[in-house]
């Protein structure tokens, strides 16, 4: 299972802060995005960053492991 988390404006547009996807062997970060983006186009229009297990990931071809945590994020606005 892959846990996908959303925060702030992305979570608001998805209508949820957490989704779960079934893990498939050989799955990459870009596959998760390709699965979710058509379902939540308005949310993904804001997405500029992704993280896997708490680490920012620039290469969307990163292979994923089962039980990992993926986050799609918009630009930060703290402070």
């Amino acid at each position: 299972m892959i846990t996908v988390l959303f925060f702030g404006p992305v979570a608001e547009r998805v209508g949820a802060s957490r989704l779960e996807l079934e893990y498939q062997s050989g799955m990459r970060l870009q596959d998760v995005q390709a699965h979710l983006q058509p379902r939540y186009p308005e949310a993904f229009a804001l997405v500029t960053l992704a993280a896997v297990n708490g680490e920012q990931v620039r290469d969307r071809s990163l292979p994923l492991a089962d039980n990992c945590e993926v986050v799609f994020m918009s630009k930060f606005s703290g402070g």
């Binding site: 702030g8 608001e12 986050v71 994020m73 402070g79």
Partner: protein, 141 residues
């Protein structure tokens, strides 16, 4: 005393943060601070409250990295970073940074560097709550 890097719902005391910094070393000759507050007006609208959301584990880890990097980069003796979450009312404190160094220049430079980096690197999002409705804030300098 609480840790030097924190995300918390509760308000914080700048005096306590500064005292903690001073208590750590008598070599400190200068302390610079930055206090970010919730404004009651933004983009032409009244703002009554600001709500914060964060990816907490990554936010805390990134703030800890920021503190370590600042200490190394500017030769600081110590630094503290506290950011609030949840709902903050107009006029309330949001973020506090304190940097201590032997002299004022590195403390002042590091303080500005940390808040600039925090805005770029720490996964926290703010939503302004106004009489006209709520609005997630778009980052700006």
């Amino acid at each position: 005393m609480q840790g030097p890097v924190r995300i918390q719902l509760a308000d914080f005391s700048h005096d306590e943060e500064i005292r903690a910094l001073q208590a750590g070393s008598k070599r400190i000759g200068g302390i610079a601070t930055f206090l970010g507050c919730a404004r009651d007006f933004s983009e032409g609208r009244e703002v009554s409250e600001i709500s914060f959301d964060a990816y907490e584990p990554m936010a805390v880890a990134e703030m800890q990295k920021l503190r370590k990097e600042a200490i190394e980069r500017f030769g600081l003796i110590d630094a503290r970073i506290v950011h609030r979450l949840g709902v903050v009312r107009a006029g309330d404190s949001i973020v506090f940074i304190a940097t201590g160094a032997e002299h004022r220049a590195p403390a002042l430079l590091a303080c500005q560097w940390i808040i600039d980096q925090l805005k770029e690197r720490v996964p926290i999002w703010k939503k302004e709550i106004t009489p006209q409705g709520d609005c997630w804030v778009t980052p700006h300098p």
